[in-house]
């Protein structure tokens, strides 16, 4: 009986792992298919038009905006973010920098420029279009976020602390879901984002288009949504905390060639 039971057990375990392997392969196939049919370029087009459109009280476009490579340089700019900006005396990610340019160059108020940062499927937001365009100009460029300036080091340290800090109604941290290998939610693998091996492919493909809701989503949204899922209070858009987390994740992924904007399920 013991032998029979053991045989059954061996068979059972092998069958399960074979199933998991097959499922993983099928998911990869699905991910490849959605990437091939990605409408991301449409968002890039709209973003480019928006980048060049005069707006705000100053009636100027964002074309003089310095994303870290000099005024108006978009090529490779995203791959160098987040980084410290002297004029703002602050570490900024793409969205924080765009907001800065909207306020300083276009003369818009923070309230007006952040009124609608996350869009929906019928009407994407300005930040979403712009992120798609700017990020796309870094395709193939190795990600090299700032890490030398004291404020960049501080942002990294804060991001790392936030990643592992458990709190909130459910006593959750980012690491509760993204801290162990071989974990998943339903069919979604959960990458251990504090490890370069896992952070690289993730950070190289955000911002991204989500096929399940037909929306283009930015990194600020991604962090915001993680906090929602953890039942925290909603973080402020482009706050030091959300930028610090993005800094921590991007520095962890540094060196990976940027391949986005990606396409997610």
């Amino acid at each position: 009986m013991t032998v029979r039971f053991l045989t059954f057990l061996v068979f059972y375990v092998t069958a399960i792992s074979a199933f998991a392997q097959d499922a993983k392969k099928e998911i990869q196939k699905y991910q490849q298919m959605i990437t091939e049919g990605s409408p991301v370029e449409l968002f890039e087009l709209e973003g480019e038009a928006l980048w060049k459109r005069p707006q705000g009280p100053s009636r100027v476009s964002l074309e003089k905006c310095d994303l870290g490579k000099g005024p108006g340089v978009v090529k490779g700019a995203y791959a160098g973010l987040p980084r410290y900006f002297k004029d703002a005396d602050r570490v900024m990610d793409l969205e924080a920098r765009l907001l800065h340019c909207m306020m300083t160059l276009q003369g818009r108020s923070r309230e007006e420029a952040t009124k609608r940062v996350f869009g929906n499927e019928s009407r994407p937001s300005e930040m979403e279009y712009l992120s798609a365009y700017i990020a796309a100009q870094s395709r193939g460029v190795k990600m090299a976020p700032g890490g030398a300036h004291p404020k960049e080091k501080a942002a990294y340290a804060l991001g790392k602390a936030l990643f592992f800090h458990r709190t909130g109604a459910w006593d959750f941290s980012c690491a509760s879901c993204h801290g162990e290998e071989d974990k998943r939610i339903r069919m979604q693998d959960l990458p251990v984002l504090s490890e370069p091996k896992y952070a690289r492919p993730v950070m190289a493909t955000w911002p991204a288009y989500r096929v399940s809701n037909s929306q283009f989503k930015t990194m600020q949204w991604r962090i915001n949504d993680c906090y929602r899922q953890m039942r925290y209070p909603e973080p402020k858009f482009a706050s030091d905390a959300t930028i610090a987390l993005t800094t921590f994740l991007t520095v962890t992924a540094a060196g990976e060639p940027y391949r986005g904007p990606g396409t997610k399920r």
């Binding site: 091939e36 409408p39 449409l42 709209e46 019928s122 009407r123 037909s214």
Partner: protein, 104 residues
């Protein structure tokens, strides 16, 4: 996104041309409801037409089963550098759009 811009790329292979075209369209199935519970009317691309140098090479009828912001990739026999390819669509509400590009 409402019905809007399109983007196309046509690349020459040996004896064929690969075309990839992106369309902005809500592709409403007529089965979704808005937040007030009212049905969002059926709104989808019905006809897709492909012309090479003005001559129709493909006419397609697609349905509301196709996703929002559809992407089509297909191969056209023949073709030469500089050939003009035009892709146009017509939806069930009479809206239409087209894009034109040269084979590269």
């Amino acid at each position: 996104m409402a019905a809007g811009p399109m983007k196309m790329r046509a690349t020459l292979g040996s004896g064929y041309t690969d075309v990839r075209v992106l369309m902005t369209h809500p592709m409403e199935t007529g089965q979704r409801k808005d937040p007030d519970g009212k049905i969002i009317p059926l709104h989808f691309i019905q006809n897709v037409t492909v012309r090479v140098n003005g001559k129709v090479v493909m006419e397609g009828e697609i349905s509301q089963a196709v996703s929002r912001n559809p992407v089509f990739t297909f191969r056209v026999r023949g073709g030469a550098k500089g050939d003009k390819i035009e892709v146009s669509w017509l939806d069930n509400q009479g809206e239409s759009n087209k894009t034109e590009g040269a084979v590269a």
